[in-house]
Symmetry: C2
Subunit: 431 residues, 2 copies
């Protein structure tokens, strides 16, 4: 039987298996999660709002038979506070929306509830999923940023408070906090998962994000959110034949320790028989960073029309983003959209038979301090191209801080990317 | 001065000009709109919910100075009841959401309010913007369908109840009701206008729609919704050099009277010096109809996850759509997405230097009866391709019923399409 004190760090599938085998009950795991939250939340600050233990247990017991018969057994999920929930406010990290109570659950939330998950609470987001941080600290080192914008979801999952959480990514809002906190973070291909009820920031960039501690749990969530008939069926790992390495410098600033980590991983990939090639040194990805910024500024300025009425309640970086978006000419925005599309075609055409791209998930370990969430450039190119991406944790620096890498797949081949990430996860864990 | 009884049928720009010239006041126009609504609404049934005359005037007078200084002067707009509004429920044409009160205005609504428009009411939509009709009749012939899903917006504008209205299109939900009722209906390029707060149906197909009685008013709305610095600046008409004619039969069933109308219009285009070519007879657009249906079914089944809990409150056609979407394999959905993209490239590459495509906006005049909203196939190909489209009214059959044609532009060239539609509108009016 799993030890009581370790139940909160089981992965979702591990927990379901332990329940199925009678090694523990769902209530044991729920209690262990609340124990962890009560011990750690004062320091970590992952939650914007959450159910009390009593309220959670009451909800569970009222429908215990239904939860016991459900795929997810009444286990808890954290929901980023940019995603609408009918039972709790959604404040988007902004005082403009204090106490804002949506009337509906987002479709992704409804699907998880239908599968038997219970929303334990809303996790901290930066202001409108942009730059201004909330109260969350990095659970691996409380003096560092957890990254953003899905700060609370990444921290809560990495710290063992919940097995799974939802987030969203427009720039680097899932991949980076997952890297900094040491969690698995997955961003679906653009258009792949329903965003109904997820507050939009930039329609050409937004994508749903999933957090877990193991890749197999992302596979399960992904299947549930596609309403697949057999979400619990197992998709086996696939070893990639050829990987394109993307050194951080191809995109922008990258720390020496991150460069070393990627090189070490490349050696291990080759030792495992994976053919490794390099992404061309042609400036393409740096251009994509610029195009991403332009698309984001233009679209945010239109989506946040209502919030523009309250300039005193917008942070300086967000005001600047909106102003720069309003100042952009439509034809320059259009140029960037077209450049992102043709850049994507050019990239994959150069890479040929490559299965996936491997790159740093962030420029370094999580920076010290909590005034900023770290630089987002490592994610901008793939997000501009609408590709599926996953942060695979497990690498670390000499001090033991997480150094996340990201695996990038072909558009709309999310399931295949997850199967390859499952293999990469094993490789990293096997050292 | 404009005559009192005609004020309700002025276009939006015409009304603004009449106010500026002192020929009438905004209040005169508002009163004329309410006179028309009170006379006609019992028969037309365009409104799901609306302000009383007294409530509207109270809102206007409370901020009269601000409205007088605003671009839109406090004039009324109708909002399709699939678009969230903070001051009135948004019920999406479904008993599942009776009395559902959103907490926010959609961004498009907020932008119109910022420009000085007042939401007069919510216009009738079919169930979740799909097939099941609401109570609206065709104002041009009350025994016929107004089309759908933006039934109320099209009818209210065509009948002179409001100068402008918002809608949305996933299949044919703007272009077809505009054609049946004799209004201008515009569908923006996919991704071009913010859909924040517009309830999604299918993310790869949804687009915002605008209704007016004159193309110049669509230009004004379009500029406002892009937060352009000078929305009232005039964009002059542009005569196309070359138009591709798309006979209805290239897409599917098309009535003899519609075919005749398109042929007559082609003759007038050629007489006006426009080079006319024909869309190739290669089956491409019929294939696009199929791909559109498949994409829609797949995505609707995920977006309406919450509503799937209430099978007894879903219409038979919607239940069937969801079931067929749940039964679709992901790879077949993906095939259709790719086919829509490559079909779009193939089409424009065949057409070469063509400025726009001209096609029937619907297979015929509005069908008799109100149990169905007419066939949507004339819109499916362009919607699958994400193109901007506008219904230009003015043609009619021998009985005087509207026969709408649609002008289809290149993706993301919405402003240019509107300038060409302005020219086409003059040509049709000049007979």
């Amino acid at each position: 039987m799993a030890e009581a004190e370790a139940l909160n760090i089981l992965g979702l599938r591990q927990a379901l298996l332990a329940i199925e085998r009678g090694e523990c009950t769902a209530l044991d795991i729920i209690e262990a999660c609340f124990d962890r939250i009560e011990a750690r939340e004062p320091e970590v600050g992952a939650w914007q709002l959450r159910l009390s233990r009593e309220a959670y247990l009451q909800q569970y017991r009222q429908q215990q038979a239904a939860y016991e018969a459900s795929p997810l057994k009444g286990l808890p999920v954290g929901i980023k506070d940019i995603i609408d929930t009918a039972a709790m406010p959604t404040e988007m990290g902004s005082s403009i929306h204090t106490g804002r109570q949506p009337v509906d659950d987002a479709s992704c939330v409804a699907m998880l509830h239908d599968a038997g998950a219970i929303t334990l609470g809303k996790t901290v987001t930066t202001e409108f999923a942009y730059f201004k941080p909330g109260k969350t600290a990095n659970p691996r080192d409380l003096t560092r940023t957890p990254g953003g914008s899905s700060s609370g979801s990444a921290a809560a999952v990495a710290d063992g408070m919940v097995p799974i959480a939802l987030g969203s990514q427009t720039a680097a809002s899932v991949i980076r906090p997952a890297a900094y906190c040491g969690a698995v973070g997955f961003v679906a291909s653009r258009g792949e998962l329903s965003l109904r009820g997820v507050q939009p920031l930039a329609q050409s960039l937004d994508s749903l994000g999933l957090f877990a501690r193991r890749v197999e749990d992302i596979q399960l969530l992904h299947a549930l959110l596609l309403r697949q008939a057999q979400p619990l069926s197992f998709e086996a790992e696939i070893k990639p034949r050829r990987i394109a390495l993307c050194p951080g410098q191809r995109i922008g600033e990258s720390s020496a320790e991150m460069n070393d980590a990627l090189n070490q991983l490349a050696e291990r990939l080759q030792a495992a028989g994976v053919d490794c090639v390099q992404v061309a040194e042609d400036g393409l990805l740096e251009q994509m960073v610029e195009h991403h910024q332009r698309i984001m500024a233009y679209e945010v300025a239109r989506n946040l029309a209502y919030e523009s009425r309250f300039p005193d309640q917008l942070s300086e970086p967000l005001s600047q983003l909106i102003d720069s978006g309003l100042g952009l000419e439509h034809r320059h925005y259009l140029d960037s959209l077209l450049a992102a599309q043709s850049g994507c075609e050019q990239l994959w055409s150069q890479l040929g038979e490559v299965d996936a791209i491997l790159a740093p998930a962030a420029p370094s370990v999580a920076p010290l301090g909590q005034g900023k969430t770290g630089a987002p450039h490592m994610s901008r190119p793939w997000q501009a191209m609408g590709l599926p991406v996953i942060t695979v944790p497990g690498m670390q620096d000499d001090a033991g801080l997480p150094l996340g890498v990201q695996l990038i797949g072909r558009a709309r081949n999310d399931a295949l990317l997850l199967q390859q990430a499952l293999w990469l996860e094993s490789l990293i864990a096997a050292r």
